[in-house]
């Protein structure tokens, strides 16, 4: 199928199988910021924004995403660079494999709730696992981004 996406602000057409997952489509398209971790929808490493909501792209079929407005960490690097900067400045990452997904979820959270409390961050970000940081520095990064 020919899949049309608004991808990081640009309209693109990608030739793919309808039963391919959006994660593979994006990665084959050269956007390797979204990572495959668990591949079953629990780790959040593959998180991208689909029509404004953070979604596990490892579970979303290309056919379901056709026509959607999709943003990845690469796109947010231009659209909202203060979030990546807050993670880098506040040790909100270590190995970084979870980080593009964390940044996408953090962006979505701050869009909905510009000044979340600690408890709100914990709840909203519970679907983005991080094995390295122990999470407190991710919360500190999001708070810093909120105040940036």
């Amino acid at each position: 199928m020919n899949m049309r996406l608004k991808l990081n602000g640009d309209v693109v057409t990608i030739d793919t199988q309808p039963d391919a997952f959006l994660l593979e489509v994006l990665r084959e398209h050269g956007l390797t910021g979204a990572k495959e971790g668990c591949a079953v929808g629990v780790c959040g490493a593959c998180t991208v924004l689909v029509n404004g909501d953070p979604v596990s792209s490892c579970l979303l079929l290309a056919g379901q995403a056709d026509g959607a407005d999709v943003w990845t960490a690469e796109g947010l690097a231009r659209a909202a660079p203060h979030i990546a900067a807050a993670f880098a400045d506040n040790e909100g990452l270590q190995c970084g494999i979870c980080t593009p997904g964390q940044v996408v979820s953090a962006y979505a959270l701050l869009q909905k709730n510009p000044h979340p409390t600690d408890a709100e961050i914990r709840t909203y970000m519970a679907g983005n696992l991080c094995r390295c940081t122990g999470y407190a520095s991710i919360r500190r990064s999001i708070e810093a981004a909120a105040n940036a």
């Binding site: 390797t32 990572k35 668990c38 990546a84 914990r122």
Partner: protein, 698 residues
């Protein structure tokens, strides 16, 4: 200070092993055994071979019988006529895309004849047990000898010091004799194992791998094939979480064979399920601890007998003893006049055991710090005061004779207790507080780097070690900038391939910052002595040893609330106190501690690969649960500065200090809350409920 790799990682620009794209690259998939022990009767790959887009299907016969491993070389590239664990690679496909490779893998028909299996060390060590390997003693690097008993032994070590252990126990006023178990636990890195291999026209193999020790990998790949390490060029890529799990050759030998046979670059990226079933998780353990103290509460004897499930291959352990060096630390923080430690590792027909953040130490410390806690209670003593009275003092040797430049266990404990505040449990819940202590030495590894002068006054630091997240590259930037009086932004950090610098031992063992500190000091000194012109560089190397002997103490205090209705354990608060010297990057240091604590809380309460009938049943991250934002309690980090460190940066290791004693602290807190002792990890609500309703205490 900002991480040097921060922006690239947070914007998705950083290229990890699975992100590497090479022209014409094929994608691999692996056929894995569903049986823990079986003979391969036949493999029919005709259908898979005929599928469009499939370039190669390899079986054990196609890849040769060379054996790989970190120390013992006992791991085949693909199973050779027998399979020894459920998940073992039996055949592999390279195809135009991953979906085709996976379809082809599913089309390979393998006929197995199941064989008797030994699934636990107890079964493996039983007289007459089936052998996992016919002649384990014959492998390169093996430490067992022909005829060693029990059968199926990978390794056995014993240490003893002081008086007669049985006499000391018999003469003790109070004793405990308890057994503890821990399950196989995966490292839980979020990046599954991945690599790319490419064979050049010159026959050289280029490798991109999620591997923490590229120079060692080069040797591990070459030696079994009788090649020189220079035949391999390993490119350094960021490692997406390691925690000890990414130091083995793993899938690289197979990926290289696929690349050789197809003449194309090949990527072999595991699905997480394959990683859980068939990588190298922490060894399951069963530990018996006998301990005694006198009427005044002074420890008189400690006898620790550890049995680790090593799984089907020993090749995932790098140390010369082929054991887990954490065992050596049993009781190391205390004055103990009679001590004996034995540690056995068994071959079984289960997933091979490997390293996970302070290998063997979490298992050992869970058992010993739980048993000593119980000993304090049996002796009618407060567990904190009991530990304080028995901790090593300055000038003391550790029970096995190790001596240190200083001993700061008491200061660390006192700092922890001074900061400790009770956090009330919600109404109706049982409150418990538990403590546990760990100490560990800091060393320096072999490493190298180069510093090149850049036009405009900046420098580029070329490094030989990958960034696994712990911050080695940022430490290089900080220390070189400091040493040369530059701003951090004037120091670029770039990894080179293994072709370009003298060998490095890899990132791990809590030695990274100490090593980097010494290395940067030498590089800066060379740079200042030689004053290279722009474009010119200087090189520096370090080798292990030559430092003073230091140990660092960590005191963990857990507060829990136990729901008496369900047995559920809620973490109220963790206090983690650390004996430190200088701290190069305070924020990175703090996050190393916080990350270690949460990883260990996850191990304490959630993680179990649930090996049933030899098969990993928690085979996805939905079932093998890792702690999330919601599970992590408030963590208070207390530092006790002013210690004596090692190397030019004068630091103590931190990477394995945050985690080790945490499960014991939680178990001791549960004991405090419910009056009964948990003796197995993870501490599930079911287990606690059972203890509450038996009313049984250990």
């Amino acid at each position: 200070m900002a991480r040097v790799d921060g922006i690239a990682k947070a914007t998705g620009a950083a290229i990890y092993a699975a992100d590497v794209r090479r022209p014409g690259m094929l994608f691999a998939a692996v056929v894995r055994s569903p049986f823990p022990s079986a003979r391969i009767v036949s493999i029919d790959a005709s259908e898979a071979r005929a599928m469009p887009g499939v370039h190669a299907v390899l079986t054990g016969q196609d890849v040769g019988s060379a054996l790989f491993g970190r120390r013992v070389r006992d791991v085949p590239i693909l199973a050779q006529s027998v399979v020894r664990f459920a998940g073992e690679a039996v055949a592999a496909i390279a195809a135009e895309d991953r979906a085709t490779a996976q379809r082809a893998a599913a089309a390979v028909r393998v006929e197995y004849a199941p064989l008797p299996a030994v699934l636990t060390p107890e079964e493996a060590f039983a007289p007459g047990a089936p052998l996992v390997h016919e002649a384990a003693w014959a492998y390169d690097g093996a430490v067992v000898k022909e005829g060693d008993q029990p059968a199926n032994l990978q390794s056995k070590v014993a240490w003893q010091a002081g008086g007669d252990i049985e006499a000391a126990l018999a003469a003790s006023a109070h004793t405990v004799d308890l057994e503890f178990t821990t399950p196989a636990q995966h490292q839980g890195y979020i990046e599954p194992q991945a690599c790319v291999c490419e064979v050049g026209r010159d026959g050289r193999v280029r490798v991109w791998a999620a591997n923490k020790s590229p120079y060692r990998l080069r040797e591990q790949l070459a030696t079994p094939l009788g090649l020189s390490p220079e035949r391999y060029e390993v490119h350094l890529v960021p490692v997406g979480g390691d925690f000890g799990g990414k130091g083995a050759p793993m899938d690289v030998p197979l990926c290289a064979e696929l690349a050789r046979s197809t003449g194309r670059p090949v990527q072999l990226a595991r699905r997480y399920t394959e990683d859980l079933m068939a990588a190298n998780p922490a060894h399951a353990s069963r530990t018996r601890v006998r301990a005694g103290c006198d009427a005044d509460g002074r420890i008189t004897a400690l006898d620790v007998h550890l049995v680790f499930n090593g799984g089907a291959y020993a090749g995932f352990k790098p140390v010369p003893t082929v054991n887990l060096h954490g065992a050596h630390g049993a009781g190391s923080s205390y004055r103990i006049p009679a001590i004996r430690i034995q540690s056995l590792v068994a071959y079984t027909h289960t997933v091979p055991g490997g390293h996970r953040r302070a290998p063997g130490a979490p298992q050992t410390v869970f058992a010993v710090e739980s048993a000593l806690d119980e000993l304090a209670r049996v002796a009618g003593r407060d567990p904190v005061a009991f530990r304080r009275a028995n901790l090593l003092r300055d000038g003391d040797a550790a029970p096995l004779g190790d001596t240190y430049a200083e001993v700061r266990g008491v200061q660390t404990l006192d700092a922890a207790m001074a900061a400790q505040r009770p956090v009330p449990a919600p109404a109706g819940m049982l409150h418990g507080m538990g403590i546990a202590i760990y100490d560990r030495g800091t060393g320096i590894g072999r490493s190298s780097m180069a510093l090149r002068a850049e036009p405009g006054g900046g420098v580029t630091a070329f490094v030989s070690f990958p960034e696994n997240g712990a911050g080695a590259h940022t430490a290089v930037q900080t220390l070189v900038a400091r040493g040369l009086g530059l701003a951090p932004a004037q120091v670029a950090v770039e990894p080179l391939t293994t072709d370009e610098l003298p060998p490095d031992d890899g990132v791990g063992g809590s030695r990274v910052t100490a090593s980097v500190g010494e290395l940067c000091a030498r590089a800066v000194a060379a740079f200042q002595a030689e004053r290279p012109a722009p474009g010119q560089s200087v090189q520096a190397t370090i080798t292990p040893g030559g430092t003073r002997r230091v140990t660092a103490f960590a005191v963990q205090i857990a507060q829990v609330a136990v729901d008496p209705e369900t047995g559920a354990v809620h973490l109220l608060h963790m206090l983690t106190a650390h004996d430190v010297a200088e701290v190069v990057n305070p924020l990175a240091h703090q996050v190393q501690i916080e990350g270690g604590v949460v990883m260990a809380l996850s191990a304490a309460l959630l993680e179990d690969l649930a090996v049933v009938d030899g098969r990993v049943t928690a085979a996805n991250l939905g079932d093998f649960k890792l702690a999330s934002q919601r599970d992590a309690p408030p963590i208070e980090v207390v530092l006790v500065p002013g210690g004596l460190g090692v190397g030019a940066a004068n630091v103590k290791g931190i990477g394995e200090m945050g985690n080790v004693a945490v499960p014991a602290a939680v178990a001791n807190a549960v004991r405090d809350a419910i009056g009964a002792r948990v003796r197995a990890l993870p501490i599930t609500a079911e287990a606690v409920y059972g203890l509450l309703h038996e009313g049984a205490s250990a």
